[in-house]
Symmetry: C2
Subunit: 191 residues, 2 copies
Protein backbone atom coordinates (compact mmCIF):
# COMPACT_ATOMS: atom_id res chain seq x y z
CA UNK A 1 0.00 0.00 0.00
CA UNK A 2 1.18 3.54 -0.72
CA UNK A 3 1.32 5.92 2.21
CA UNK A 4 -2.38 6.25 2.77
CA UNK A 5 -1.99 8.45 5.82
CA UNK A 6 0.18 11.11 4.17
CA UNK A 7 -2.24 11.28 1.27
CA UNK A 8 -5.11 11.51 3.74
CA UNK A 9 -3.56 14.44 5.63
CA UNK A 10 -2.80 16.31 2.44
CA UNK A 11 -6.34 15.79 1.27
CA UNK A 12 -8.03 16.87 4.48
CA UNK A 13 -5.87 19.80 5.54
CA UNK A 14 -2.92 21.94 4.58
CA UNK A 15 0.04 20.46 6.38
CA UNK A 16 3.69 21.21 5.77
CA UNK A 17 5.97 18.22 5.21
CA UNK A 18 7.55 18.92 8.59
CA UNK A 19 4.16 18.76 10.30
CA UNK A 20 3.27 15.51 8.59
CA UNK A 21 6.59 14.14 9.78
CA UNK A 22 5.88 15.11 13.38
CA UNK A 23 2.46 13.52 13.29
CA UNK A 24 3.71 10.36 11.69
CA UNK A 25 6.74 10.11 13.93
CA UNK A 26 4.53 9.56 16.95
CA UNK A 27 2.45 6.83 15.30
CA UNK A 28 2.66 3.11 15.90
CA UNK A 29 2.06 1.09 12.74
CA UNK A 30 0.35 -2.23 13.29
CA UNK A 31 -1.10 -5.04 11.25
CA UNK A 32 -4.29 -6.54 12.55
CA UNK A 33 -5.40 -9.91 11.28
CA UNK A 34 -9.02 -10.67 10.36
CA UNK A 35 -11.07 -11.50 13.46
CA UNK A 36 -8.42 -10.03 15.72
CA UNK A 37 -9.64 -7.58 18.38
CA UNK A 38 -7.97 -4.28 19.16
CA UNK A 39 -10.44 -3.58 21.96
CA UNK A 40 -12.70 -5.70 24.15
CA UNK A 41 -15.34 -4.67 26.65
CA UNK A 42 -13.77 -4.28 30.08
CA UNK A 43 -10.47 -3.05 28.69
CA UNK A 44 -9.47 0.58 28.47
CA UNK A 45 -9.21 1.93 24.92
CA UNK A 46 -5.65 3.18 24.58
CA UNK A 47 -5.43 4.42 21.02
CA UNK A 48 -6.81 6.67 18.37
CA UNK A 49 -6.69 4.32 15.40
CA UNK A 50 -6.43 5.31 11.75
CA UNK A 51 -7.18 2.64 9.17
CA UNK A 52 -4.79 2.80 6.22
CA UNK A 53 -6.10 -0.41 4.77
CA UNK A 54 -8.83 -2.89 5.63
CA UNK A 55 -12.07 -2.81 7.57
CA UNK A 56 -13.19 -2.91 11.20
CA UNK A 57 -16.38 -2.76 13.22
CA UNK A 58 -17.15 -1.29 16.62
CA UNK A 59 -20.01 -2.94 18.50
CA UNK A 60 -21.58 -3.59 21.88
CA UNK A 61 -23.42 -6.64 23.14
CA UNK A 62 -27.09 -6.62 24.06
CA UNK A 63 -28.48 -8.32 27.15
CA UNK A 64 -28.85 -11.64 25.38
CA UNK A 65 -25.50 -11.46 23.62
CA UNK A 66 -26.52 -10.04 20.24
CA UNK A 67 -24.09 -7.73 18.48
CA UNK A 68 -25.22 -4.16 17.94
CA UNK A 69 -22.91 -2.44 15.52
CA UNK A 70 -22.20 1.20 16.28
CA UNK A 71 -19.98 1.77 13.29
CA UNK A 72 -18.00 0.31 10.46
CA UNK A 73 -14.70 1.87 9.45
CA UNK A 74 -12.58 1.41 6.34
CA UNK A 75 -9.59 3.14 4.74
CA UNK A 76 -9.25 6.80 5.77
CA UNK A 77 -11.53 6.39 8.78
CA UNK A 78 -10.71 6.74 12.44
CA UNK A 79 -12.00 4.28 15.00
CA UNK A 80 -11.83 4.13 18.78
CA UNK A 81 -14.06 4.13 21.82
CA UNK A 82 -13.73 7.84 22.50
CA UNK A 83 -15.54 7.61 25.81
CA UNK A 84 -12.97 5.17 27.19
CA UNK A 85 -10.02 6.75 25.43
CA UNK A 86 -10.65 10.21 26.83
CA UNK A 87 -11.80 9.19 30.29
CA UNK A 88 -9.49 6.25 30.93
CA UNK A 89 -12.51 4.22 32.06
CA UNK A 90 -13.04 0.64 30.84
CA UNK A 91 -14.85 0.38 27.55
CA UNK A 92 -18.16 -1.36 26.96
CA UNK A 93 -17.40 -1.94 23.30
CA UNK A 94 -15.48 -4.26 21.02
CA UNK A 95 -13.42 -3.33 17.98
CA UNK A 96 -12.48 -6.16 15.66
CA UNK A 97 -10.97 -6.44 12.19
CA UNK A 98 -13.29 -7.77 9.47
CA UNK A 99 -10.36 -8.10 7.07
CA UNK A 100 -6.61 -8.08 7.53
CA UNK A 101 -6.15 -4.44 8.39
CA UNK A 102 -3.26 -1.98 8.58
CA UNK A 103 -3.60 0.72 11.18
CA UNK A 104 -1.72 3.64 12.70
CA UNK A 105 -2.17 4.32 16.39
CA UNK A 106 -1.56 7.19 18.79
CA UNK A 107 -2.28 7.49 22.50
CA UNK A 108 -4.47 10.33 23.63
CA UNK A 109 -1.46 11.99 25.28
CA UNK A 110 0.30 11.97 21.93
CA UNK A 111 -2.78 13.47 20.33
CA UNK A 112 -2.91 16.24 22.91
CA UNK A 113 0.70 17.00 22.19
CA UNK A 114 0.03 17.08 18.44
CA UNK A 115 -2.95 19.38 18.96
CA UNK A 116 -0.62 21.86 20.66
CA UNK A 117 2.30 21.52 18.29
CA UNK A 118 0.35 21.32 15.05
CA UNK A 119 -2.63 23.68 15.14
CA UNK A 120 -3.78 22.46 11.77
CA UNK A 121 -4.09 18.97 13.23
CA UNK A 122 -6.22 20.38 16.02
CA UNK A 123 -8.41 22.12 13.45
CA UNK A 124 -8.68 18.93 11.40
CA UNK A 125 -9.92 17.00 14.39
CA UNK A 126 -12.41 19.64 15.32
CA UNK A 127 -13.86 19.31 11.84
CA UNK A 128 -13.87 15.52 12.07
CA UNK A 129 -15.63 15.37 15.43
CA UNK A 130 -18.09 17.95 14.27
CA UNK A 131 -18.87 15.99 11.13
CA UNK A 132 -19.12 12.78 13.11
CA UNK A 133 -21.66 14.44 15.38
CA UNK A 134 -23.72 15.61 12.41
CA UNK A 135 -23.57 12.13 10.91
CA UNK A 136 -24.59 10.55 14.18
CA UNK A 137 -27.57 12.86 14.49
CA UNK A 138 -28.57 12.05 10.93
CA UNK A 139 -28.45 8.39 11.88
CA UNK A 140 -30.61 9.04 14.93
CA UNK A 141 -33.07 10.77 12.65
CA UNK A 142 -33.06 7.77 10.33
CA UNK A 143 -33.51 5.40 13.24
CA UNK A 144 -36.58 7.15 14.57
CA UNK A 145 -38.22 8.02 11.28
CA UNK A 146 -37.43 5.46 8.62
CA UNK A 147 -38.92 2.01 8.12
CA UNK A 148 -36.52 -0.92 8.03
CA UNK A 149 -36.55 -0.79 4.25
CA UNK A 150 -35.77 2.92 4.10
CA UNK A 151 -32.95 2.47 6.59
CA UNK A 152 -31.46 -0.19 4.37
CA UNK A 153 -31.69 1.97 1.25
CA UNK A 154 -30.21 4.93 3.12
CA UNK A 155 -27.37 2.69 4.27
CA UNK A 156 -26.63 1.60 0.70
CA UNK A 157 -26.55 5.21 -0.46
CA UNK A 158 -24.34 6.34 2.37
CA UNK A 159 -21.91 3.42 2.41
CA UNK A 160 -21.97 1.94 -1.10
CA UNK A 161 -18.42 0.74 -0.53
CA UNK A 162 -19.46 -1.61 2.24
CA UNK A 163 -21.83 -3.73 0.15
CA UNK A 164 -20.16 -7.02 -0.66
CA UNK A 165 -17.38 -6.20 1.75
CA UNK A 166 -19.43 -6.65 4.89
CA UNK A 167 -21.78 -9.62 5.37
CA UNK A 168 -25.48 -8.84 5.35
CA UNK A 169 -26.11 -10.05 8.87
CA UNK A 170 -23.74 -7.34 10.09
CA UNK A 171 -25.58 -4.71 8.11
CA UNK A 172 -28.71 -5.97 9.87
CA UNK A 173 -26.95 -5.59 13.24
CA UNK A 174 -26.05 -2.04 12.20
CA UNK A 175 -29.58 -1.15 11.14
CA UNK A 176 -31.21 -2.69 14.17
CA UNK A 177 -33.21 -5.42 12.43
CA UNK A 178 -32.82 -9.19 12.35
CA UNK A 179 -31.00 -10.82 9.46
CA UNK A 180 -34.24 -12.53 8.42
CA UNK A 181 -36.03 -9.20 8.15
CA UNK A 182 -33.19 -7.78 6.08
CA UNK A 183 -33.33 -10.77 3.75
CA UNK A 184 -37.06 -10.33 3.26
CA UNK A 185 -37.06 -6.62 2.60
CA UNK A 186 -34.23 -7.09 0.13
CA UNK A 187 -36.32 -9.66 -1.67
CA UNK A 188 -39.25 -7.28 -1.90
CA UNK A 189 -37.45 -5.12 -4.38
CA UNK A 190 -34.04 -6.13 -5.69
CA UNK A 191 -31.46 -3.36 -5.86
Amino acid sequence: MPDTFRRYLREKGSFTDAQVDVIESLARARMVKRKQFILRAGEVCHYHTFISNGCMKLYRLGETGEEHIIKFAIEDWWISDRQSLLSGEPSDSYIVALEDTDVLQWTNAEFERLFKEVPEFDALFKRLISKALDASQDRVFGNISYTAEEKYRAFLEKYPGLMGRVPLHMIAAYLGVTRETLTRLRGRRPA
Copy 2:
Protein backbone atom coordinates in the same frame (compact mmCIF):
# COMPACT_ATOMS: atom_id res chain seq x y z
CA MET B 1 -33.43 34.94 36.49
CA PRO B 2 -29.94 35.27 37.92
CA ASP B 3 -27.10 35.25 35.44
CA THR B 4 -27.37 31.65 34.37
CA PHE B 5 -24.67 31.93 31.77
CA ARG B 6 -21.97 33.27 34.08
CA ARG B 7 -22.76 30.51 36.55
CA TYR B 8 -22.65 28.01 33.72
CA LEU B 9 -19.22 29.14 32.53
CA ARG B 10 -17.79 29.07 36.02
CA GLU B 11 -19.18 25.60 36.54
CA LYS B 12 -17.91 24.13 33.28
CA GLY B 13 -14.48 25.72 33.02
CA SER B 14 -12.03 28.02 34.71
CA PHE B 15 -12.57 31.43 33.21
CA THR B 16 -11.29 34.74 34.48
CA ASP B 17 -13.83 37.50 34.96
CA ALA B 18 -12.27 39.31 32.03
CA GLN B 19 -12.78 36.27 29.80
CA VAL B 20 -16.38 35.89 30.87
CA ASP B 21 -16.88 39.55 30.03
CA VAL B 22 -15.44 39.11 26.56
CA ILE B 23 -17.65 36.12 25.88
CA GLU B 24 -20.76 37.80 27.19
CA SER B 25 -20.02 41.08 25.46
CA LEU B 26 -20.45 39.44 22.08
CA ALA B 27 -23.77 37.80 22.96
CA ARG B 28 -27.22 38.85 21.89
CA ALA B 29 -29.83 38.30 24.59
CA ARG B 30 -33.27 37.42 23.33
CA MET B 31 -36.61 36.36 24.69
CA VAL B 32 -38.43 33.73 22.68
CA LYS B 33 -42.13 33.20 23.26
CA ARG B 34 -43.67 29.75 23.49
CA LYS B 35 -44.34 28.35 20.01
CA GLN B 36 -42.03 30.89 18.43
CA PHE B 37 -39.45 29.53 16.01
CA ILE B 38 -35.82 30.54 15.96
CA LEU B 39 -35.12 28.36 12.92
CA ARG B 40 -37.24 26.90 10.13
CA ALA B 41 -36.32 24.44 7.41
CA GLY B 42 -35.07 26.33 4.37
CA GLU B 43 -33.50 29.09 6.43
CA VAL B 44 -29.83 29.26 7.31
CA CYS B 45 -29.06 28.76 11.01
CA HIS B 46 -27.24 31.90 12.08
CA TYR B 47 -26.61 31.40 15.79
CA HIS B 48 -25.15 29.26 18.47
CA THR B 49 -27.91 29.49 21.07
CA PHE B 50 -27.52 29.07 24.81
CA ILE B 51 -30.70 28.58 26.84
CA SER B 52 -30.58 30.47 30.12
CA ASN B 53 -34.18 29.70 30.87
CA GLY B 54 -36.93 27.70 29.23
CA CYS B 55 -37.14 24.79 26.84
CA MET B 56 -36.82 24.17 23.09
CA LYS B 57 -36.93 21.31 20.66
CA LEU B 58 -35.08 20.67 17.41
CA TYR B 59 -36.92 18.51 14.88
CA ARG B 60 -37.27 17.56 11.25
CA LEU B 61 -40.35 16.57 9.30
CA GLY B 62 -40.87 13.13 7.81
CA GLU B 63 -42.27 12.52 4.35
CA THR B 64 -45.83 12.64 5.56
CA GLY B 65 -45.33 15.62 7.81
CA GLU B 66 -44.71 13.95 11.16
CA GLU B 67 -42.32 15.59 13.58
CA HIS B 68 -39.17 13.66 14.43
CA ILE B 69 -37.47 15.21 17.40
CA ILE B 70 -33.69 15.22 17.28
CA LYS B 71 -33.23 16.88 20.64
CA PHE B 72 -34.74 18.74 23.52
CA ALA B 73 -32.79 21.48 25.26
CA ILE B 74 -33.37 23.24 28.56
CA GLU B 75 -31.41 25.57 30.84
CA ASP B 76 -27.64 25.24 30.41
CA TRP B 77 -27.95 23.51 27.05
CA TRP B 78 -26.85 24.70 23.65
CA ILE B 79 -29.01 24.30 20.60
CA SER B 80 -28.48 24.97 16.91
CA ASP B 81 -28.40 23.21 13.59
CA ARG B 82 -24.65 22.81 13.49
CA GLN B 83 -24.65 21.54 9.95
CA SER B 84 -26.27 24.71 8.66
CA LEU B 85 -24.49 27.02 11.08
CA LEU B 86 -21.02 25.84 10.10
CA SER B 87 -21.65 25.38 6.39
CA GLY B 88 -23.92 28.33 5.71
CA GLU B 89 -26.27 25.99 3.83
CA PRO B 90 -30.04 26.09 4.43
CA SER B 91 -31.19 23.95 7.31
CA ASP B 92 -33.60 21.03 7.12
CA SER B 93 -34.64 21.44 10.74
CA TYR B 94 -36.91 23.51 12.94
CA ILE B 95 -36.12 24.92 16.38
CA VAL B 96 -39.07 26.14 18.40
CA ALA B 97 -39.66 27.20 22.00
CA LEU B 98 -41.83 24.89 24.09
CA GLU B 99 -42.03 27.50 26.86
CA ASP B 100 -41.22 31.19 27.00
CA THR B 101 -37.46 30.96 26.75
CA ASP B 102 -34.50 33.27 27.37
CA VAL B 103 -31.51 32.69 25.17
CA LEU B 104 -28.09 34.09 24.39
CA GLN B 105 -26.88 33.98 20.81
CA TRP B 106 -23.58 34.27 18.97
CA THR B 107 -22.80 33.99 15.28
CA ASN B 108 -20.28 31.41 14.22
CA ALA B 109 -17.84 34.18 13.32
CA GLU B 110 -18.09 35.47 16.87
CA PHE B 111 -17.50 31.97 18.16
CA GLU B 112 -14.40 31.58 16.02
CA ARG B 113 -13.10 34.83 17.39
CA LEU B 114 -13.79 33.68 20.96
CA PHE B 115 -12.06 30.38 20.31
CA LYS B 116 -8.93 32.31 19.37
CA GLU B 117 -9.09 34.92 22.10
CA VAL B 118 -10.21 32.65 24.93
CA PRO B 119 -8.47 29.27 24.68
CA GLU B 120 -10.46 27.97 27.63
CA PHE B 121 -13.66 28.61 25.66
CA ASP B 122 -12.19 26.61 22.80
CA ALA B 123 -11.38 23.79 25.21
CA LEU B 124 -14.86 23.91 26.71
CA PHE B 125 -16.46 23.54 23.32
CA LYS B 126 -14.22 20.68 22.37
CA ARG B 127 -15.40 18.87 25.49
CA LEU B 128 -19.01 19.70 24.76
CA ILE B 129 -18.94 18.47 21.18
CA SER B 130 -17.09 15.38 22.25
CA LYS B 131 -19.65 14.61 24.94
CA ALA B 132 -22.47 15.30 22.52
CA LEU B 133 -20.96 12.79 20.10
CA ASP B 134 -20.71 10.15 22.81
CA ALA B 135 -24.30 10.80 23.85
CA SER B 136 -25.48 10.60 20.26
CA GLN B 137 -23.75 7.27 19.77
CA ASP B 138 -25.32 5.98 22.97
CA ARG B 139 -28.67 7.02 21.57
CA VAL B 140 -27.97 5.19 18.33
CA PHE B 141 -27.15 2.12 20.37
CA GLY B 142 -30.40 2.48 22.24
CA ASN B 143 -32.32 2.94 19.02
CA ILE B 144 -31.00 -0.24 17.45
CA SER B 145 -31.02 -2.45 20.52
CA TYR B 146 -33.79 -1.46 22.92
CA THR B 147 -37.48 -2.23 22.70
CA ALA B 148 -39.89 0.70 22.77
CA GLU B 149 -40.41 0.20 26.49
CA GLU B 150 -36.69 0.11 27.27
CA LYS B 151 -36.19 3.26 25.22
CA TYR B 152 -38.82 5.00 27.27
CA ARG B 153 -37.28 3.90 30.56
CA ALA B 154 -33.83 4.96 29.39
CA PHE B 155 -35.25 8.33 28.40
CA LEU B 156 -36.76 8.81 31.85
CA GLU B 157 -33.46 7.97 33.49
CA LYS B 158 -31.49 10.24 31.23
CA TYR B 159 -33.83 13.22 31.20
CA PRO B 160 -35.85 13.04 34.40
CA GLY B 161 -36.23 16.80 34.24
CA LEU B 162 -38.25 16.66 31.04
CA MET B 163 -41.10 14.56 32.41
CA GLY B 164 -44.10 16.75 32.98
CA ARG B 165 -42.39 19.59 31.20
CA VAL B 166 -42.67 18.12 27.73
CA PRO B 167 -45.90 16.53 26.47
CA LEU B 168 -45.88 12.78 26.01
CA HIS B 169 -46.53 12.88 22.29
CA MET B 170 -43.25 14.74 21.88
CA ILE B 171 -41.41 12.14 23.89
CA ALA B 172 -42.93 9.61 21.50
CA ALA B 173 -41.65 11.66 18.57
CA TYR B 174 -38.23 11.64 20.20
CA LEU B 175 -38.22 7.91 20.83
CA GLY B 176 -39.49 7.03 17.37
CA VAL B 177 -42.82 5.46 18.34
CA THR B 178 -46.39 6.64 17.94
CA ARG B 179 -48.10 8.40 20.83
CA GLU B 180 -50.57 5.53 21.09
CA THR B 181 -47.76 3.04 21.58
CA LEU B 182 -46.20 5.22 24.25
CA THR B 183 -49.51 5.46 26.05
CA ARG B 184 -49.90 1.71 26.01
CA LEU B 185 -46.45 0.79 27.20
CA ARG B 186 -46.76 3.31 29.99
CA GLY B 187 -50.01 1.66 31.02
CA ARG B 188 -48.55 -1.79 31.30
CA ARG B 189 -46.13 -0.77 34.02
CA PRO B 190 -47.00 -3.04 36.97
CA ALA B 191 -44.27 -2.32 39.54
